[in-house]
């Protein structure tokens, strides 16, 4: 058990022990979500701003519900509704929010480093909800939580991340988290989207799907971000599906207990067959459920002040 951070900006700078602290804490918050009364007063009287400069429904909803279940007060900002549209800088927007005496900023931004930047200019706790193609730490933590819950451990597992790695902050955060926790990570996809440079992060890189999934315990599919690629990174979605889409025939070659993950939103029929996404081997909806518990844990942990972890008796 160790946690003394005021922010959650990335996975890269966390220790394995800190990651495990989040996962252990999240287990307690998952239990809260299963009770008749799903709310605890841990953040009562604290104000959280969800500053989503880049569009997001899933992550924002998940953060919002986590904050509500911790009894925080919430303000939501989206790019369209904020003065960022009128040319205000991110720093000014954030400073103005802070002048309202807010305690937390959850930031989603298209620029890598946006969360780190805010943590330097603000006193509020900053949580990175995705910055460009850099990191998406809470997604990696909820993925690790889901794997650990289903497999009982992470160390020694073969985890294959499949798809658009190059543009994926989810992949980067997952690679950091999984390698720190002792998993063996394989990356697979078209050579244009899975360059060999990722080997420097401690991963195996292959461009052959069969080789990537044969020994996998977890197959983590990433969405093809066609809005980012504009068709320049591979010839067509159809070709991608032919070469890298997960279908029944390919699933039959995997270990019988290999499980499928996907951070959503799913492109059914592109990276995954519809039937597989809905099958018993899919953890997609468990990931969504666990996202609440993990985000509650992160908010709870960064809220802590300095001082001893153990509480005196009485």
């Amino acid at each position: 058990m160790s946690w003394n951070r005021q922010h959650l900006l990335d996975i890269e700078s966390l220790t394995a022990d800190e990651i495990v602290t989040v996962l252990d804490t999240a287990r307690a918050f998952k239990a809260v979500g299963e009770r008749a009364i799903k709310k605890v007063p841990a953040l009562r009287g604290r104000t959280v701003v969800n500053l989503f400069v880049e569009p997001s429904t899933r992550t924002r909803t998940s953060f919002e519900l986590s904050e509500q279940r911790l009894s925080a007060d919430i303000i939501n900002f989206t790019a369209e509704a904020s003065s960022l549209k009128k040319g205000e800088t991110l720093k000014d927007t954030a400073k103005n929010l802070e002048a309202l005496n807010i305690d937390f900023i959850i930031i989603r931004h298209s620029a890598a480093g946006a969360a780190h930047f805010l943590s330097r200019v603000l006193n509020a706790h900053v949580i990175n909800a995705g910055d460009g193609a850099h990191e998406h730490p809470t997604q990696a933590l909820l993925d690790a939580f889901t794997i650990r819950e289903r497999k009982g451990k992470i160390e020694g597992l073969n985890v294959t991340i499949l798809g658009d790695i190059l543009f994926s902050r989810v992949a980067r955060s997952n690679i950091w988290a999984l390698t720190k926790l002792g998993a063996k990570v394989t990356l697979c996809g078209p050579a244009t989207l899975v360059p060999r440079t990722f080997e420097a992060m401690g991963c195996r890189v292959t461009h052959h799907l069969d080789d990537a999934i044969r020994d996998a315990d977890i197959i983590h599919l990433l969405r093809i971000q066609h809005e980012r690629q504009r068709q320049t990174m591979f010839p067509s979605l159809n070709e991608y599906t032919q070469l890298f889409g997960l279908n029944k025939a390919r699933l039959a070659q995997t270990k019988p207990d290999a499980l499928i993950m996907h951070p959503g939103p799913v492109n059914r029929g592109v990276e995954i067959d519809s039937d597989i996404a809905d099958s018993a081997r899919s953890l997609i909806l468990e990931q969504v459920t666990n996202g609440i518990a993990v985000r509650m844990a992160v908010l709870f942990l960064v809220n802590g002040g300095k001082g001893p972890q153990e509480i005196a008796a009485g």
Binding site: A28, A31, A42
Partner: protein
């Protein structure tokens, strides 16, 4: 090296718990509605011991659960986030007499948090409080119904309760820092 004195040894702890079990029996005749909830962490092994003793007296199993109060504490922003231990209450508390069990009663803040936390699980008919040690220094109007031993302490002292730990004798020690 801090100075320390044993205030209860293993036999004295067992005698105190036996007496508390009888006092709980006296207060709650028949015992049909009584359930025990130990506060993490020190209260949990004590609640289990009391459940065993009460089962012997009443001639039937007595339910015992565990409650972590971290999420209901009033000092969360003044200290590092605490480690959260499991809350397991495998029975309905509504309409029951819940005996909260803790090892040391000190400021009373843990008990306030525990009563709030317990409310999220239902509406007990009554809540009673059993503690092994009452060391004084209350900061809230909280009073125990059942006390193993009153131990007057100074704020510079620390009360350490060891019950049910593997390989060590049960004991209660007061340490001077």
């Amino acid at each position: 090296m801090p100075e320390s004195a044993i205030v209860l040894n293993a036999a004295a702890i067992q005698r105190a718990l036996t007496r508390i079990a009888h006092e709980i029996t006296e207060r709650n005749e028949g015992g049909g509605d009584v359930v025990l909830v130990g506060i993490q962490r020190g209260g949990v092994p004590l609640a289990e011991r009391l459940a065993t003793l009460l089962a012997g007296i009443w001639g039937g199993a007595v339910s015992s659960g565990s409650l972590d109060v971290s999420m209901h504490r009033d000092d969360l922003d003044q200290r590092a986030a605490p480690k959260i231990h499991p809350t397991v209450i495998p029975f309905d508390v509504t309409g029951k007499t819940v005996v909260l069990v803790d090892d040391v009663l000190f400021s009373g803040r843990t008990i306030r948090a525990a009563m709030d936390a317990l409310n999220d699980f239902g509406r007990p008919k009554k809540i009673q409080l059993a503690v092994l040690i009452d060391r004084g220094h209350r900061e809230l109007p909280v009073k125990a119904d059942f006390v193993g031993k009153n131990v007057p302490t100074s704020l510079a002292e620390k009360v350490r309760v060891r019950v049910g730990e593997a390989g060590v004798e049960d004991e209660v020690v007061v340490e001077r820092k």
